[in-house]
């Protein structure tokens, strides 16, 4: 069974999803990620879905779960690279994906994470909206 690799970049964790996520791999990812955040004390998680062409409600739930679990462990999550066709389909499907920050690509995602982490520690509100 393949495992999805989790890369560490400083105080951030990077996950690139390139295969179709189905139940066992997805649940393993959740568990691995949570362990890693705890172990490394990561402040942010970046999930790259630019290679994902189908996101159904199951996958949406997994992403939502990861965001919530990370939050509980005091880390922020940003999902990057959503394909237009996927975005259109998710809107139609009615998946709220609440509490999940998104950005266009890895670079913007990291910038966003930095900002969120800074706000957390410096307490300044510079008007960023979710």
């Amino acid at each position: 069974m393949d495992k999805i690799p989790i890369l560490r970049m400083g105080d951030l964790l990077l996950v690139t999803i390139q295969v179709d996520l189905y139940d066992r791999i997805a649940e393993a990812l959740e568990a691995d990620l949570v362990q890693m955040i705890n172990k490394t004390g990561a402040q942010g998680v970046l999930i790259d879905i630019s290679a994902v062409s189908i996101i159904d409600s199951f996958m949406g739930r997994i992403i939502g779960n990861i965001a919530t679990m990370s939050k509980v462990l005091d880390a922020e999550t940003v999902v990057v690279g959503m394909q237009p066709a996927v975005a259109i389909t998710l809107v139609e499907l009615g998946l709220p994906l609440n509490g999940v920050l998104t950005a266009l690509n890895v670079e913007k995602g990291m910038t966003l994470l930095r900002t969120k982490i800074d706000i957390k520690y410096n307490g300044s509100d510079d008007g960023n909206t979710e």
């Binding site: 998710l90 266009l104 913007k108």
Partner: protein, 295 residues
């Protein structure tokens, strides 16, 4: 078979069909000439669209195919598959004429003048009035059917032109302009129907990805009216943009549209709307923490 008379008594139709076909085969050249004369003398001749030489060549090709395809069985059946080569040539002629700019009447005359030529020659060679009448009816029915074919293919040819123009218009009327680093604008001109809105939506999202723009401004000041379905699509466009991690500002909402939307009970409170593209740009700069300073 005892003699020809006996044969004829048993199978009268067989011999009679052969006669008309035999006439056409024998007098093909005459038919060609007669047909060309009819075409050249008619005021609908379009020498500006086709030279007389080309016209002659086109007519010969059709006539030859027709005479060769004609047999005892299909003279009564315009829809016989034996006429396929004739129909193919005819359709090709009709489509190319449509593209050149011939009117359907002019192309119709092309076919019906053939009918005149055929009947003219038939009249010269078949002396028995009853037989002439019977054979003429068959020819009339055949050529009329071919005439309808030319109209059908003419329409198809025009439809292809319309489709191509529609595509071109769609392309021209939804330009994407990069107004700043990270900001794209889509000014939409013309009526927005449900289908076009979906195309605009896909185009917008694709542009956002390709240009890595965090903000897209959708300007609808060139859109006369918006119905409920289109408004829903616009809202979905904004949602999809946000899901991807960008923001979408809708600008240029005319007072009439604002009224319609509120009356339809559509909730625009979750999206950013600005009266003009200029103010949308100002908002975009502010979101990106950019400032314009006078020197």
């Amino acid at each position: 078979m005892a003699n020809l008379l006996e044969f004829r008594a048993i199978n009268p139709n067989i011999i009679m069909k052969n006669e008309a076909i035999k006439v056409f085969q024998k007098r093909k050249k005459n038919i060609q000439e007669t047909w060309m004369k009819l075409q050249l003398s008619d005021e609908s001749l379009r020498e500006d669209l086709m030279t007389n030489e080309d016209l002659r060549r086109q007519s010969d090709e059709l006539l030859t195919a027709f005479v060769e395809a004609l047999d005892d069985n299909n003279i009564d059946d315009p829809r016989s598959s034996n006429f396929d080569p004739v129909v193919d040539i005819l359709s090709a002629i009709s489509i190319s004429r449509a593209k050149q700019g011939y009117t359907p009447r002019e192309t119709g005359f092309y076919v019906f003048s053939l009918k005149d030529a055929l009947l003219h020659i038939l009249q010269q060679d078949i002396k028995d009035p009853q037989e002439l009448y019977t054979q003429s009816l068959k020819i009339i029915k055949l050529i009329d059917s071919f005439g309808v074919t030319t109209f059908e293919t003419f329409i198809k040819g025009r439809e292809e032109v319309i489709l191509r123009q529609t595509d071109e218009i769609t392309e021209i009327s939804t330009p994407v302009i990069k107004v700043w680093d990270g900001i794209v604008a889509l000014p939409i001109i013309g009526t927005l129907d449900s289908a076009r809105t979906q195309v605009v939506m896909e185009s917008l999202l694709q542009q956002i990805v390709e240009s890595s723009s965090s903000i897209a401004i959708l300007d609808i000041s060139g859109v006369p009216a918006v119905d409920s379905l289109v408004a829903q699509h616009l809202l979905k466009t904004v949602s999809a943009t946000r899901l991807m991690g960008a923001e979408c500002i809708i600008s240029g909402i005319r007072p009439e549209i604002a009224q319609t939307v509120v009356h339809l009970g559509i909730d625009l409170s979750g999206i950013i709307t600005k009266a003009s593209l200029a103010s949308a740009l100002k908002t975009a700069f502010s979101i990106l923490h950019l400032q314009v300073i006078k020197k």
